[in-house]
């Protein structure tokens, strides 16, 4: 016997919040009514639908209070590291140091969605010559120019080499505007040559030990820069501790993903899972709190699984590739009769555990090289097939990021691999930061995919 989980609108959440407060709700310092974030200009919030749990409330408040947290970090004298592009490695190093906060300025790519284009970050990017033919991460440049969303970091790092051109170009433009950047090289992860010594990376990709050694030497440069910033050594003991803490967070997220994606009915909506996954890359500027948020979500999901509470039974199991620029599309998936059974949001290497049985910097180098975007599209497609199969996917959606250089190429590789190995239907959808005008078209395509998947069940 299952109970249908009903997501709430923002207004409904306000009412629920009052109820919870009357019942003695205890919250962290960043807690409060969700609608208060409207005052910060987060205009998209009334258009989204939310999980009704206290755990989800904590998750959303944690996410939406990050700018305040960064401002507090600056005010209290903490050093702030803006890690760009690598999505999962440099923050592990930075958080190993006392009095250092790290975040990804890349995350500004969601500002246009959350603030419904009112923040002016795209306008600022346009003025710098970065128009809409670029990926929405150009909002990051706008955020630096307007200086209205996060304190300017004390140190900016950026991985380059086997990275997407959009981001590299945007970061270079930022550098050209006078922001010093510590560039570090991540080479294209290639198959080892015949006879070349190799190692299996976290997540299963293989790389030559020569490439691991090179990335290790690059991370050594990052380490020195972090030490200089923090004024304390970032020795192996500190790094090992940092890796252990990061792995604890990764284990909790992995468990959450397993519980949610492999359960039926689905005990947590797609939108909350997207936000939960995003926390792992830089812990939303608070590593300790991320662990607590994950613990709460896990407890809630476990309770729901035992009680048989979840989204519509029989929803089509969808494996989702790439994060959406418009959060609302994750609600749309469920409106169309789908549910998530697995994801690859460009950073599966930040979800896999970092090895703890090798020297810390070597372990981090392996983790960095395991980035699905630094190798071939075929490699990434294999990982997607493996995880989609584990999630018993019935369909795959590849969400294209408008203007992103990699999307033009990898869609073909992913579609071809999924069709050949799993025989599943695949669609590619382009999702802009505010998709309202495209909603009918997106809905039609997702519904058609759901219908195709349901018809295949019957066969």
């Amino acid at each position: 016997m299952t109970t249908r989980l009903t997501p709430l609108t923002l207004a409904q959440w306000d009412a629920r919040y009052e109820e919870l407060k009357r019942g003695g709700l205890s919250e962290p310092s960043y807690g409060g009514r969700l609608s208060r974030h409207l005052e910060d200009g987060d205009l998209r919030l009334p258009k989204l639908r939310y999980d009704p749990s206290v755990a989800a409330l904590r998750l959303w408040n944690f996410l939406l209070s990050e700018e305040d947290r960064l401002a507090q970090a600056r005010a209290s004298g903490r050093k702030i590291v803006g890690a760009m592009k690598d999505l999962g490695t440099v923050p592990v190093m930075a958080y190993s140091l006392p009095n250092v906060t790290a975040f990804y300025p890349d995350g500004a790519w969601w500002i246009p969605c959350v603030m419904e284009l009112s923040a002016g970050v795209f306008r600022a990017a346009d003025a710098c010559g970065l128009d809409e033919s670029f990926c929405p991460v150009r909002a990051m440049l706008g955020a630096f120019v307007t200086q209205a969303h996060f304190p300017i970091p004390d140190l900016l790092t950026c991985s380059v080499g086997a990275t997407c051109d959009d981001f590299s170009a945007i970061a270079q433009r930022l550098n050209g505007l006078g922001y010093p950047i510590l560039w570090w090289e991540i080479p294209h992860r290639r198959a080892p040559d015949p006879g070349e010594k190799s190692v299996v990376l976290p997540g299963g990709f293989v790389a030559s030990t020569a490439q691991v050694a090179f990335v290790r030497s690059e991370l050594e440069r990052v380490r020195r820069a972090l030490e200089e910033l923090a004024g304390v050594p970032l020795d192996d003991a500190r790094l090992a501790d940092g890796i252990r803490m990061a792995n604890e967070a990764r284990r909790r997220l992995a468990e959450l993903r397993r519980c949610v994606y492999h359960s039926d009915p689905c005990p947590l909506p797609a939108l909350e899972m997207l936000v939960a996954e995003m926390l792992i890359i830089h812990f939303c500027s608070d590593r300790g709190e991320t662990l607590s948020v994950y613990a709460d979500l896990l407890a809630e999901v476990e309770a729901r699984r035992k009680a048989g509470v979840g989204l519509a039974e029989g929803a089509v199991r969808v494996f989702w590739v790439n994060p959406v620029a418009d959060l609302q599309v994750m609600n749309l998936l469920e409106d169309c009769g789908g549910r998530l059974c697995g994801t690859e949001y460009l950073f599966c290497h930040a979800v896999d555990e970092i090895p703890e049985d090798v020297e810390p910097l070597d372990a981090l180098a392996r983790a960095a090289l395991a980035d699905p975007m630094v190798g071939s599209s075929a490699d990434r497609a294999q990982r997607i097939c493996r995880d989609a199969e584990a999630g018993r996917a019935e369909a795959v959606i590849v969400s294209r990021i408008p203007g992103a250089s990699h999307c033009a190429y990898e869609g073909y590789a992913i579609r071809e691999a999924v069709a050949r190995q799993l025989g599943l239907p695949v669609i590619e959808l382009e999702v802009p930061p505010v998709s309202d005008s495209m909603r009918p078209a997106l809905r039609t395509r997702i519904e058609a995919l759901m219908e195709t998947a349901r018809n295949r069940r019957a066969q």
């Binding site: 670029f134 086997a162 170009a169 270079q172 294209h188 040559d193 250089s405 033009a408």
Partner: protein
Amino acid sequence: MRTIACASPFIPPEWIAAHGLQPKRLVPRTPDRTVQAHVSEGVCCFAEAFAADSERLDGAGIVFTTTCDPMRRSVEMTDAGARSFLFNVPATWQTVAAQQLFVAELRRLGGWLVRMGGTVPDAARLSAELRRWDAARAQARAARSAMSARTFAEALVELNDSGAFPAAWDRSAPAISAFPVALVGGPLLLDEFWLYDAIERAGARVALDASETGERGLAAPFDRRRLHDEPMDVLADAYFGRIPDAFRRPNTLLYEYLKSGFAERGVRGVVLIRRVWCDLWHAEAARVREWCGLPCIEVDLSGEGDVRQRSLTALQALVEAAK
């Protein structure tokens, strides 16, 4: 002798020649849409053209590079299999490790060239090839001012294939009084060389060809004192250490190159070439404009439709405005 095709100026043709193979710095043509379907929306037409044209070279080895995402990913779009090689050109360049990575990639390329039928060069053969190509590039640099930009660009195509600077080209020098512009940007397709003619028809001359297929893509002169004993380092210094480009991080070398070139050649206007889906040069367009303070126009080459008339009009306006 097997042909080894590449598009990138960072792949030393002398290294290929020293292995006993025929280098071909391929400048492809715009894909013929009547026979070649568009791969996908968002695919750079230069990368698409290179992949297609190089596959048509019967049995050739094809070298792709990581200098941009389209090229890095295009290696997967071909059916060349073991005949293709992806050369990792580091984006960073200011560290010893990056230079050593480039040298390591040259050696790895060498291993692949042997698998393609080449032979490991001895010191004498390697040294001889390096000297030959270096001398040809020196001839090219010396002849530049006497040649029209188009003639020079076509001569570079010949040089990059043969290691010899052609002697039989028409060396008509442009009128020195014509408005001096710099052509700045990525590579041109072979059938886009009309742009040089259009610039001259508009009353200008290309004083500095800072396109990838132009003089910007030439390796620096070799340090001949080290050629025999340190050939790999000499190659790395001249190619990796000195060729400026938008993808390099930071790309300060590009602006140093432009600054000295603009001053030396008296550049008074800039023609920026970029392609739809080329983020690297698209982002530099705004910065070049801000940095140089000179009249600039952008020529958008997407591989679709005929932009010649529009470009000619813009060029004429550039020259007129500068008068």
